[in-house]
């Protein structure tokens, strides 16, 4: 069992350790400036921020926004994507929207969002929905059109109705594409939430970064950066794992 664990996670552990070692070497021997604290200092600061609850407050604010916007965006995007992939007229009508809006980055929409929804939660969640929905739509629609025609034909010859084919063939065959879209969207959500919080927010990891700059709390900045990295890494692993688990079975090709 330990051997198995090592072969599964050993590489990761080594990678992370080397990352922190490199960081330490760079900050202590290469730069040696207060503007680039070594990992030990950042870690100590992190412990302090965890103890007094500040870190958790910021972290939770950001995670909450991401989750709310991401879930809402996916729930909206998946059915739209399915409809666009399944019905040509729907695709024709909605494509101008998706093709136009997906080139306007969510970061560019921050101004509009703040004007419309203020600096509260609504504007953040709007931005996360905005950044999630188009990627999910595009991937879901692509997934539907990638279904092997013989799968549909086989289901027809087995007596399935159109509705049954949709539920029992098209939907499961599209799952890996939906998950891939959501994974990409999650990455974008991180970018967007930090940008939005930098500009207008009362708490959140982005706000923590901004305060750090304002009051020259360099350690705080680095704690926030490490949190973003770790959080993103963990969530992405989760998606990769679920895609891997499903894709083994849910692959559209076989």
């Amino acid at each position: 069992m330990p051997r198995r664990l090592w072969s599964l996670y050993g590489g990761y552990a080594l990678g992370f350790v080397s990352l922190f070692v490199l960081w330490h070497l760079a900050s202590v021997y290469l730069v040696s400036s207060v503007l680039f604290p070594p990992p030990v200092v950042v870690f100590r600061k992190g412990v302090v921020l965890v103890r007094n609850g500040v870190l958790f407050e910021h972290l939770w604010a950001s995670v909450q926004r991401i989750l709310a916007g991401f879930i809402a965006g996916s729930l909206l995007g998946i059915p739209i994507g399915l409809a666009m992939g399944s019905f040509r007229p729907v695709r024709k009508v909605l494509e101008p929207y998706t093709e136009f809006l997906r080139f306007i980055p969510a970061v560019a929409m921050i101004t509009v969002a703040v004007i419309w929804f203020g600096i509260g939660e609504a504007s953040k969640i709007f931005l996360i929905i905005y950044t999630t929905i188009f990627i999910v739509i595009l991937n879901t629609a692509a997934g539907v059109s990638a279904i092997a025609p013989n799968k549909i034909r086989a289901a027809q010859a087995l007596g399935a109705t159109r509705a049954q084919i949709f539920v029992h063939v098209a939907l499961p065959a599209t799952v890996p594409y939906i998950l891939t879209g959501m994974r990409l969207a999650m990455g974008n959500s991180f970018t967007t939430i930090v940008a939005a919080e930098l500009i207008a927010a009362n708490e959140g990891l982005g706000k923590m970064l901004w305060d750090g700059r304002m009051f020259m709390l360099v350690d705080d900045i680095f704690v926030s950066l490490v949190c973003l990295g770790l959080l993103g890494f963990a969530v992405d692993r989760m998606f990769r794992w679920s895609i891997y688990t499903f894709a083994g079975k849910y692959s559209p090709a076989t």
Partner: protein, 316 residues
């Protein structure tokens, strides 16, 4: 011709009389046509094929079927034309032809996935309209299997769509998995199974629905030679056990003579049709080294040789 569609003032007696007569004549014509129609005759370009009313005649009747594929480049592609053949209930019919001759097109039309542009396909006396579970289909590749379902769940699919209770459908699926020799690993997913095993699942999945006939589109073409020979034996055994009518498409003479009770040979495409049909009276003894087997092989080979040459010349 002035008359029905003009809105002028009514004319005199004579005109009314004409209308009565024209109606009588058209009634006569229609009744005459319907007499012809009972034989479902089709006469076109001097080629005459007749499908009699079922059950007087065959299970499936292709009469003068044509399929044109609309091409984006402009010139339409006539895949098959004047394709006529009849398939009897209970037989193992092999449709043999050089590559690109439209064999698969014929199968797709019979399965109901595509519609003929002219002519008609009757099954049990009724025109084929769309796919139905009375025609089970086995595809060449494995992309028709549901990768997210295990072997037994794939086999159950048709029964599940019909709303048959879990216990019963599991029991029936297992019976058919046993028939195709896959009883040992019902919980495996298609990705975990070999090519031959995947084709077995496809066969079981189609047969569990108890279709009137089984359509097979070069089901063993992608398998290695040994697996193919084994699968041919297995299929012959399954056919003898179930006596389901089989419509089997192949480009392999050996396979056709090994399996078929009748072999239809197609011309080279485009505008392909049946060149001839051969009865194979081997009574189940399909020894490849047997003289009778070789005689049939030669006979089919003679029929198809020129067509293969033509199809190769066209590709070049």
């Amino acid at each position: 011709m002035t008359g029905r569609f003009t809105t002028r003032a009514p004319r005199g007696e004579g005109y009314q009389g004409y209308r009565v007569w024209s109606r009588k004549i058209s009634t006569l014509i229609v009744s005459g046509l319907s007499h012809v129609g009972q034989k479902r005759g089709l006469v076109r370009f001097g080629v005459t094929r007749t499908c009699y009313a079922y059950p007087a005649m065959s299970l499936v009747c292709f009469s003068d079927v044509q399929k044109i594929y609309r091409s984006l480049q402009g010139a339409d592609d006539v895949a098959v034309e004047h394709f006529s053949v009849e398939i009897e209930a209970g037989e193992f019919f092999c449709l043999l032809g050089p590559s690109g001759c439209g064999k698969t097109t014929v199968l797709k039309m019979l399965a109901g996935f595509e519609h003929p542009t002219a002519g008609q396909i009757l099954m049990e006396g009724r025109p084929v309209a769309g796919a139905s579970r009375d025609r089970g289909v086995v595809f060449q590749g494995d992309d028709s299997l549901f990768g997210w379902l295990s072997a037994v769940e794939n086999v159950e699919f048709g029964l599940r769509m019909r709303g048959i209770a879990r216990v019963e459908r599991r029991e029936r699926a297992m019976r058919y998995l046993e028939l195709v020799g896959l009883k040992g690993q019902p919980q495996k997913y298609p990705a975990e199974l070999s090519g031959g095993m995947k084709q077995r699942i496809q066969i079981a999945r189609a047969l569990v629905n108890e279709p009137t006939m089984l359509l097979m589109d070069e089901p063993f073409a992608a398998l290695d030679a040994q697996t193919r020979a084994l699968m041919q034996e297995e299929l012959a055994r399954i056919w003898r056990a179930t006596r389901t009518t089989v419509f089997f498409i192949t480009h392999d003479i050996d396979e056709a003579v090994t399996l078929g009770t009748r072999i239809g040979v197609m011309r080279a495409g485009p505008r392909s049709r049946v060149k001839g049909v051969l009865d194979v009276a081997l009574n189940g003894a399909r020894d490849r080294t047997d003289d009778v087997f070789l005689r049939y092989y030669k006979q089919v080979h003679e029929m198809i040789r020129d067509e293969v040459a033509k199809s190769i010349a066209r590709v070049d």
